[in-house]
C-alpha cells in the first residue's frame, strides 16, 4: 500500500481487484491523479472485495477506483457492492477502468458504478469526472 498525502482535497483509493497482475494502467492512473492534486492510496495487486471496502472505510476515501484487465469485474463488483453496503460506503463515488467491454457496462451501472473508463480514456477525463462529482 502506498499513500500520497496532500492536505485537504479529494482522497482516492485505486485498487487492483482479483488475481490479475496487469498494473500498468492502474499505476498510470495513480500518477495522473497525484499530478492532479488528489490524495491517492494504491492497494497493489490481488485485493479481495472485503479488503478494498476495509481500506476505503479506514482511510475515509471519497472515491473508490478499480482497475480490471482480466474480465472478472462484473462478479467482483457484485461482491464488492455487498461489502460496501455492509460498511455503509455505498454513497462513495465508485469508478472502474481497464478492459471493460461495452456489453458489461450496463450491468456495472446497475450494480452501482458511477463512472466507467474503458482503456483508451484520456486521463483528464477521469480527473474531470472526479472533480465534478466530488465538489
Amino acid at each position: 500500500m502506498n499513500t500520497n498525502r496532500t492536505r485537504g482535497g479529494i482522497k482516492v483509493l485505486i485498487a487492483k481487484p482479483g488475481l490479475d497482475g496487469h498494473d500498468r494502467g492502474a499505476k498510470i492512473v495513480v500518477r495522473a491523479l497525484i499530478d492532479a492534486g488528489f490524495e491517492v492510496i494504491y492497494t497493489g495487486l490481488r485485493q479481495v472485495p472485503e479488503a478494498v471496502a476495509q481500506v476505503a472505510l479506514e482511510e475515509d476515501v471519497d472515491v473508490i477506483g478499480l482497475s480490471s484487465m482480466a474480465g472478472s469485474h462484473v462478479s467482483y463488483c457484485r461482491r464488492l457492492k455487498a461489502s460496501l453496503l455492509e460498511k455503509g460506503l455505498q454513497d462513495k463515488l465508485w469508478i472502474i477502468g481497464g478492459s471493460i467491454p461495452l456489453r458489461d457496462q450496463q450491468a456495472l451501472k446497475e450494480i452501482g458504478l458511477d463512472g466507467i473508463f474503458p482503456a483508451g480514456t484520456r486521463l483528464e477525463e477521469i480527473v474531470d469526472f472526479i472533480n465534478q462529482r466530488c465538489k
Binding site: R31, Y42, L45, S75, S99, L102, A119
Partner: protein, 547 residues
C-alpha cells in the same frame, strides 16, 4: 456513449510536419536523415557482424536459418478447462501450427486450486484451469509431444507445472532425457510486470535455479526458462531497456546455477528468451541483432563458456500487445503482419503472433487462424526464408545495431551500479522506473507527440466494434471443481500426504525441491496443496509499491 464517439477526427500526426526537428527512436538514439560508410565506421564498423551460425551470432544463431526450417508457429492459447483447450490445440495444429503455447488461468498461475475461495470468477477465464496431473493428461491427449513442442506460459507455479509436464510425458512413454519443450519460468520479470508472483524474491529465484539444475541433469533438451524482456517492455521499458533488463535477469539465474557447481556449458544452451516486437521496424531488427551478439559476448567472455551453443540467444517474438489498439481493431491485422515481418527479419526461432481482437477478448478461432495465415504467407509467398539476415550490410541497420548494443551495455552497467537486478526488483525501484516511463509515454500519446494511428491521428467516429467475444462458461468452471472433488476422493491420500510432507521438508532443508515436487505431482497432489507446502516454508511476497 463510448469514449471513442466523443473523439475529434484528426488528420496526420503533428510530428511529420517539421523536417528540421531531430528524430529519435524509442531507445533514445538519434536517427540521421542518411547513413553512409562513415557512420558505420564511427559506430564501431563491422567487427561484430560475422556470419550466421558463428560467434558472435549477430546475423542469426543458425547457418541456414529459415531455409532449413521456418520459425515455429506457437500461438498463445488456453481457456476454460483442459477439454476445451485440447480442442483448440487440435484446431490450431490442423491449421498448420507447429508448436503449442499454453495459457493458464490466474488461479493456476498463482498456485490456487479451482475450489479456493480466491478463485471464484477466475477459473478458466484467461487460460486453462489446472489443478493436478490429471488436467495435463487431458489437455495434451492425442498430441504428439515429439512433433509438437509445448511451451508453458507459467511463472509463479512454474516448478509445479514443469513437473506436471515431465510426469505426463513420462507416463505416456516419452524419454524425458530427449523431451523438448519450454517453460516461461521467469519470475523476476513477474515482479516487474504481469504480477503472478507467489513467494518472496529470494525463494522465487531459488526455485528457478532448482528447475534449471534439475533439467540440466535429467531433461537436458528441455528449456526450463524463457527470460522475458517482453513484459518489461509492456510495462513501460524502451526496447534497449527491455533487452538489457532481460539479460540482467538471465545473468541473475545463471549466477545462481553456477553457485551450485554446474558448469555454464551444462545449462546455458537451454536458456531461451521472449522479446517484444512492436514499434519501429529498424530499431527492433537492430535490437535483436545487437542482443544476440551481446548475449554471446556475455556468456563467452564473462562466464567462460566454450560450447558455441551456450552462447546463442534463442528467442520467441511476434507479440506486442501494447502496440495494438482497441480503436479500429482491424488495423491490428495490418500491425500483426508487420510484427511477423519484423520477427522474420530479426531471426526469431519462434513466433507467437498477436491477434487483432486481443485488446477485447481471448482470440476467436478465426482471429487465431488469421495470425497463422499471416505467418504462412510470409513463409510461402514473400521470400522471407530464402536467405539469412537480409538486412545485414545496410549502413543504417549495422550502425543502429552497434548503437543499440552500446546502449544496452550502458543500461546493464546502470543496473549493476544500483546493486543489480535482484535488488532493484526486491526494492521496487525498477518497477517504479518503468511505470514512470509508461506514464510519460501515455502523456506523449495524449498530446499527439507520439503518433498512434486511430488514437491521436486518423481517428474515426466509431461505436465499439463488433467483436466475437469469447464466452466465459460458468459450467466449465463448475465441471473443473467437480473433477477436483472427484480427484480428491479417488487418489491415494496417504501418498499425497507423505509426498507433501517430503516437499515441505526439502524446502525447509534448502535442497532442490524438484524431485519432491515430481513425487507429489505423480501422487496427484494439487497445485494449491504443493504451493501451500512451499508457502509454509518460504512465505508470501509482499509487494513494494513505489511511485
Amino acid at each position: 456513449m463510448t469514449t471513442q464517439a466523443r473523439k475529434q477526427v484528426t488528420g496526420a500526426s503533428k510530428k511529420r510536419m517539421d523536417t528540421s526537428r531531430p528524430v529519435f527512436n524509442e531507445s533514445g538514439i538519434e536517427i540521421k536523415k542518411t547513413y553512409t560508410a562513415d557512420d558505420l565506421e564511427a559506430s564501431g564498423g563491422v567487427a561484430m557482424v560475422g556470419l550466421p551460425g558463428e560467434y558472435p551470432f549477430t546475423r542469426g544463431i543458425h547457418k541456414e536459418m529459415y531455409r532449413k526450417r521456418p520459425w515455429t508457429m506457437r500461438q498463445y492459447t488456453g481457456f476454460g478447462n483442459p477439454e476445451e483447450t485440447n480442442k483448440r490445440f487440435k484446431f490450431l495444429i490442423e491449421n498448420g501450427q507447429t508448436g503449442l503455447n499454453v495459457a493458464f488461468d490466474l488461479p493456476s498461475q498463482i498456485g490456487l486450486d479451482s475450489d479456493d475461495e480466491l478463485a471464484i470468477g477466475e477459473i478458466g477465464r484467461v487460460g486453462m484451469a489446472v489443478d493436478s496431473l490429471r488436467d495435463f493428461e487431458v489437455a495434451f491427449d492425442g498430441i504428439d509431444l515429439e512433433k509438437i513442442t509445448v511451451s508453458l506460459t507459467i511463472n509463479g507455479s512454474a516448478a509445479i507445472m514443469i513437473a506436471m509436464y515431465l510426469a505426463m510425458a513420462e507416463k505416456r512413454g516419452y524419454d524425458i532425457s530427449k523431451l523438448r519443450g519450454t517453460a516461461q519460468n521467469d519470475i523476476l520479470k513477474e515482479f516487474i510486470g504481469r504480477g503472478t508472483w507467489i513467494f518472496p524474491v529470494e525463494p522465487s529465484i531459488k526455485l528457478v535455479a532448482d528447475t534449471i539444475e534439475y533439467c540440466a541433469n535429467h531433461a537436458p533438451k528441455y528449456s526450463p526458462v524463457s527470460v522475458c524482456g517482453y513484459h518489461i517492455r509492456e510495462s513501460g521499458a524502451d526496447p534497449a531497456q527491455e533487452m538489457a533488463y532481460g539479460f540482467a535477469i538471465a545473468k541473475a539465474y545463471t549466477d545462481l546455477v553456477l553457485a551450485r557447481g554446474l558448469d555454464v556449458d551444462e545449462f546455458a544452451s537451454r536458456l531461451s528468451f521472449n522479446f517484444n516486437i512492436y514499434g519501429n521496424i529498424f530499431e527492433q531488427v537492430a535490437k535483436f541483432r545487437a542482443g544476440r551478439s551481446l548475449w554471446a559476448k556475455i556468456i563467452k567472455e564473462e562466464y567462460g563458456a566454450t560450447n558455441p551453443r551456450s552462447m546463442v540467444l534463442r528467442m520467441i517474438a511476434g507479440g506486442g500487445g501494447s502496440g495494438l489498439t482497441k480503436e479500429q481493431p482491424e488495423v491490428n491485422i495490418v500491425r500483426g503482419a508487420y510484427y511477423a515481418l519484423i520477427s522474420a527479419l530479426s531471426g526469431a526461432q519462434t513466433m507467437a503472433l498477436c491477434c487483432f481482437d486481443e485488446a477485447y477478448t481471448i482470440p476467436s478461432e478465426g482471429a487465431q487462424r488469421l495470425s497463422l495465415r499471416t505467418m504462412q504467407v510470409l513463409i510461402e509467398e514473400m521470400g522471407l526464408c530464402d536467405t539469412v539476415d537480409p538486412l545485414a550490410g545496410s549502413y543504417y541497420v549495422e550502425t543502429l545495431t552497434n548503437q543499440m548494443r552500446e546502449r544496452m551495455e550502458e543500461i546493464m552497467q546502470e543496473v549493476e551500479a544500483q546493486g543489480g537486478i535482484v535488488r532493484m526488483v526486491a526494492e521496487g525501484t525498477i518497477q517504479a522506473k518503468v511505470s514512470a516511463q509508461a506514464y510519460a509515454l501515455l502523456q506523449d500519446i495524449e498530446s499527439g507527440e507520439f503518433p498512434k494511428v486511430g488514437i491521436n491521428c486518423y481517428q474515426m467516429d466509431e461505436e465499439e466494434p463488433e467483436v466475437e467475444y469469447h464466452p466465459y462458461a460458468e459450467d466449465d468452471a463448475r465441471r473443473q471443481i467437480q473433477r477436483l472433488d472427484q480427484l480428491r476422493e479417488e487418489r491415494d491420500s496417504a501418498a499425497v500426504e507423505s509426498t507433501l510432507a517430503k516437499l515441505t521438508e526439502d524446502a525447509g532443508d534448502g535442497v532442490n525441491v524438484m524431485p519432491a515436487i515430481l513425487a507429489a505431482v505423480k501422487a496427484y497432489a494439487t497445485v494449491g496443496e504443493m504451493t501451500d507446502a512451499l508457502v509454509s516454508v518460504y512465505g508470501r511476497y509482499n509487494e513494494p509499491v513505489r511511485f
